[in-house]
């Protein structure tokens, strides 16, 4: 696995595909289980991005293998919890990657031309 983590510095994920970006964004806020990620992305995008479980888990597998996401040991309050479920959270390098992507998006959105186009 460590071998893969080193690959991370190369831009193997960047620029992030929209669904990947949204997955990371959902995990940035709090630790979530798989279905929680789906619901969060769906709400955040007003239903525009509707992830299906199977592609989501393929992505999660990649992210886990690459050390961007890891399994969380922490649990929410017991009454909300289903003990079988696994929760995921961003690793520090995941956070760095998300931040880098966020900067890229802002830089893009900040350019005059993009702003002009958006207002047109």
């Amino acid at each position: 696995m460590s071998q893969h983590t080193n690959d991370l510095d190369s831009d193997s994920f960047a620029p992030l595909k929209p669904d990947l970006f949204h997955i990371l964004l959902a995990l940035e806020e709090e630790e979530r289980h798989g279905y929680g990620i789906l619901k969060e992305v769906e709400q955040r995008t007003d239903g525009r991005i509707r992830l299906e479980p199977s592609p989501l888990y393929r992505r999660l597998k990649r992210l886990l293998d690459a050390g961007i996401v890891e399994e969380s040991a922490k649990r929410p309050a017991p009454e909300l919890d289903d003990e079988r479920r696994r929760y995921y959270r961003l690793t520090p390098s995941g956070r760095r990657m998300l931040a880098a992507e966020a900067r890229r998006v802002v830089a893009l959105a900040g350019s005059d031309r993009v702003r002009r186009l958006a207002n047109a």
Binding site: H33, Y35, Y57, R58, K61
Partner: protein, 877 residues
Amino acid sequence: MPDHVLVRFCERAFRRLLLVYPKTFRAELGDDLLDAHRDRCRDEWEQRGWLGLTAYWTRTSARMLHDGIGERLAALRSRSRRPRRYVLDSVRQDLRFAFRSLMNKPGFSAVIVLTLALGIGVNAAIFSIVDGVLLRSLPYPNPAQLVRIWETNTQADNRFVELSFADYAYIRDNSSSFTATAAFSQASRDLVDAYGNPTEIVIGRVVDGLFSLFGVSPILGRDFLPDDTQRGVPVVILSHALWQARYGSDPSIIGKTVHIRAQPFTVVGVLPHTSGYPLSADVWRPLIGDNQDEDREFHVIARLAQGVSVAQASAEIRVLAAQLEAAEPDLNENISAWVQPMQAMLVRNARTPLLILLGAVAFVLLIACANVANLLMARGTTRQQEVAVRTALGASRSRIVRQLLTESLLLALLGGGAGLLAGYWALDTILAISPQNTPRLAEVALDGRIVAAMTVISVITGAVFGLLPALQASRPDLHANLKAEGRAQTGNVSVRRVQRGLVITEVALTTVLAIGAGLLITSFSRMLHLERGFATENVLLVRVEPGTLHLERNAIALFDDVLERVRPLPGVQSAVLSTMNPMAPRGLTLSIQIATDPDPRIDLPRVRWHSTSPDFFSVVGIPLQAGRFFDDRDNETAPRVILINQAFADAHFGGDDPIGKQLSRPAVEIVGVVGNVTPLAESVPRPTMYSPFRQQPWPGAYVVVRSATDPLPLAEAIRQQVWAVDATIPLDDITTVELAIAETVASPRFHMLLVGVFALLALVLAGVGIYGVMSYAVNQRTRELGLRQALGAADGDLLGMVMRQGLAMALAGIMSGLVAAFWLTRLLSTLLYDVAPTDPRMFAGVALLLTTVAAAACFFPARRATLVDPMVALRYE
């Protein structure tokens, strides 16, 4: 709240589908993924009910298949990254080992390679023909757009009617489905020039840009110009074949003059080599106004516009045909029109026989494969000890399966290679004997695609039929196999069961093939021995067609001259005249009316009509049934008389004696009844009447020559005599009745030969298969047989026991084969003459034949069973 049953069903289904994912993925994320799916299912169910759930289930199933396979591929890629060297090494090792083990048993390997070569060889050959004739697109640009336009006579149920010029022009001017249309009509004409003897050619009269429609332009000279058609300029374009054969590829032919039916034409172009119909005429000329009549003689070709389908074009011209019918009801009553793809049109008669041949070779291949599988399985069982040792030394099962698979793949590839060589040879042979009227034969070749297809088939054969024995042999029963110490297992029930199944299958396939071949052979022999109603030996037919030029000259005088010169030739016994070719007694039909018929009908019956010399009937051996033949009294000045055939008498006079009866139309008296002449293509003889040639001369007839020996060598002398009378008469159509018969049965003979050979191959293979399995069984049971013998079993008992087992297997195959043949032989019905596809005698005969073969194949192993020495067998332990 418990989940709805549908939700639970989905969950179960997803759990199954999860198996598509690689094990690592399942272990890490599988349960989680299923949880997410269940949550989603619940949501869908609550929000959208069963519709939403079903949609989700369908979508997700496909998605999971896709993702699972994707994950597996990804896992494979990441795994193969490191140990590639290792994999390559072990493949090399497998190959080396496979070679060595095949070389250890050269007989076994040779039998397998030969068997496969046989199966692959015949398939390569027939596949090449099917590909060249049926599948490959026509050698013109955008061939799929080329279509033939037909009219159809809905009342006469004739779907293949040519168009009249007016109909063609109307469709050309009013349809929007085509980017180009062209038409031509064909006729036989005599060609006379300074380059050789007068010859009969097929001349095509072209309307509009026929050649450009096919994307063909002359290699010498020019295409027709619109002006040629409009002004009726007498110009011609020669076919490449005629230019080569008659004019020796003379490059200065352009501008020279040739005479067709005594009219001069200027050569303006030479076409490139074309492959058969529609560009098959010898000489082309533009259609000039004189032929724009009502005759339905135009072959209409069109090119579909982009995006227009055949069905759409058909629909459009059907409407146009309806408009034509409305405009001119008397000309176009019941006439509709349709469009046929050119390719389908060209091969429509060749299709069924070729598909049947393809089926036959597929059977041969399957039988060969069954044999190979049997041999490999027998081999696998004898190698169980070797496998056990290798397993004990640490080989994994997959490694052993791979080793065994490598061996069978190697065998399959060797067999495939040998098969391709055999295929080249078989294709040459088949093409040499194939009937010349098969379309597109010139395009047939065993090319790269066939080689590729056959290689794939070989590999699949090797993989499929090698895998089963490999799995079987590698089944880890280490303890028992190691203990066996060189003695193969006696009780490998499942191997024997599979072997039996394979033999039963191949016997069944062979039964079907043998019945098919038997039917074709019977049909062919019935054709040959058909009672034709006339003598077929030593009869020469010379068509003498002076053509329209001589219409005004007295045909009687011309033919009198010809006969007078031919009769004294040495070898000629008799020479007579007839407009009828007894091999194809078609020709003119006339309406008749019988004088005594009390109620003259409006639709008069039509009968065939021919004109003959008085002694024609005795010369060709058509028997007189009643009355008299013609004689010299029946000349120009005598009362008009006719002979009728038996079919005429039966149809129009029933039990009455027709002799002396009069026809009022034409006004003639019947003086005799002669026997029927049955052509091959017709099952029932048609009513026919004959007139004396002197009373009804015709500007074209056959000179029928009877000789004591083969009359063909007389042809040249007869030609010279006819040309001495008139040097412009083309004399290309000279044949003996025997040759003509051979020609009409060429196709049936071809199909019979091929299916017969395939059936024979199948029979041999099936025999070998039964023999192999029985001998293997006897070998495996040596100990048991020896024991039985030691306990007092007689030779006859042992022989009977083994024979019974073998025959039971064969009979099961024969019975299944008979049932299958009962359904399959009806596909042959269009190829059969005078024999039913389910002829019970044929079925019984083939069953008997196969039983005999099976008995013979069982006998030798069974006899070996009786020869087992009890002492040796017992020491076998």
